[in-house]
Symmetry: C2
Subunit: 243 residues, 2 copies
DNA sequence: CAGTGGTCTAGACCACGTA
DNA sequence: ACGTGGTCTAGACCACTGT
């Protein structure tokens, strides 16, 4: 019945984790089921409670379990599938498919933000911004149009950078430490500008990813990535506990 | 400048975790930086090494740190932004916006799988399948068209279910234990069928989410959710450590 | 009040990779 | 060989909560 399980587990708490996970995935322990107490499982596995706790804590973080003091630990009903969406650098994305990557700079200006810029950056007042438009290509074929705004207050060092060869996104990823990002994914009909750059018909469906990146100095950058809809797909895989 | 942080931390290991995280986000500890050893941090915080380890282990799982025996723990460079995409039940999705949810069954047949069905389910041989098409509405306005295939081998108990009121997705989420899911997100021009159901123009851009759900008994179901592109957006938020 | 999870300790031994 | 992280222990006390 049970298909398989890697015979040699590394550590005990990982074995416990995957045992519990298997019981849930297989449907043996259905949502709402009260799983054994920590002390019981510790006795079963002949280990200390801390080891069991480590496994169950992780499964709780993954959303498979719900724990309540005094009442115990319960299998949680999956209310939402939270999938991990891997959003990589476009250069890497293209090269991973084995194709030759290229990037052509279409426009690069520095200006005071317009009303639209403010809306996109989600700011009220920032100083100058740099607006960049570039086209990413795979095998010399248009792959993705990138429209980007960079807040010069947050990333003053970008003023010295020239993006004739590498895309600003690649540079930013390395140059700006760690950050928080917000993504919006939508479908949009290609505008005249987008259609021309991507060499598709005007009005054709495009997959659009908008990303706003922040760090402690404020909003760093806003980017809008438009992909020809027929060509590009985003993948998100979901497994109960990422381990 | 700094957004603000909850002043009272609950547990010590969470305080350590957020301290380290702050140092990384602020850019004080840049990618490649070797952070203090566990023993050093334990001494700094006046706690045992286990407590420090708990915090650092979690940050490593989140992808902020890289740990190597003998050499130490290092700040990892963000190579890809892996964003958590929350994919909820459509009923919940609509009701969360405060609108009235509705679902209309457009088609419900049982048949042997066609070639296309096999491709979609990713199977070679399955017995009968149930094909359901239904329209989700918000305030009686078309919100999303759901095209679904259910593998009766994996979910025989669905044969008795009738979906005149609730959507099959809602039922499946509760009835089928746990599973692994694979999502594909794409943009697509509305076909005649989709356009008619969603009451939009043919060829209009739609955001499409395709989901294949599996459990131990095999592929459970395949669903294609088409949203009018101008209306719907998927959100994915990314913060270094989901905590 | 009693029972469960949440947290923490002060040790310990092992695995692994650098030297 | 040595130093670091990875894991585990056998306790302990506390917080929460259902009875």
């Amino acid at each position: 019945m049970t298909p398989r399980k890697p015979p040699a587990q590394k550590s005990l708490h990982l074995r416990i984790l995957s045992d519990v996970q298997d019981n849930i995935i297989s449907g043996l322990w259905r949502p709402g089921f009260r799983i054994p107490f920590e002390t019981e499982m510790a006795k079963t596995y002949g280990c200390s409670r801390m080891t069991v706790n480590k496994a169950l804590t992780q499964l709780t973080r993954s959303g498979l379990l719900e724990r309540h003091r005094k009442s115990g630990t319960f299998v949680k009903a999956p209310q939402s599938l939270s999938a991990a969406l891997e959003i990589t650098d476009i250069k890497k994305e293209v090269e991973d498919t084995g194709q030759r990557y290229g990037c052509r700079l279409l426009s690069d200006t520095q200006r005071l933000p317009t009303q639209l810029d403010h809306t996109r950056l989600g700011t009220k007042r920032v100083g100058a911004i740099r607006a960049i438009i570039c086209l990413h290509t795979a095998k010399a074929v248009p792959f993705c149009l990138e429209q980007r705004l960079v807040n010069l207050d947050a990333v003053p060092e970008i003023e010295a950078e020239v993006f004739t060869k590498d895309a600003p996104g690649t540079w930013l990823l390395q140059a700006v430490p760690w950050n928080a990002a917000e993504h919006q994914i939508l479908a949009s009909a290609a505008t005249q500008e987008v259609a021309q750059a991507l060499e598709i018909a005007r009005g054709e469906a495009c997959l659009v990813v908008e990303r706003k990146t922040q760090n402690e100095r404020g909003v760093v950058t806003w980017a809008r990535l438009s992909y020809p809809g027929t060509q590009h797909r985003l993948f998100a895989r979901f497994t109960p506990a990422s381990g």
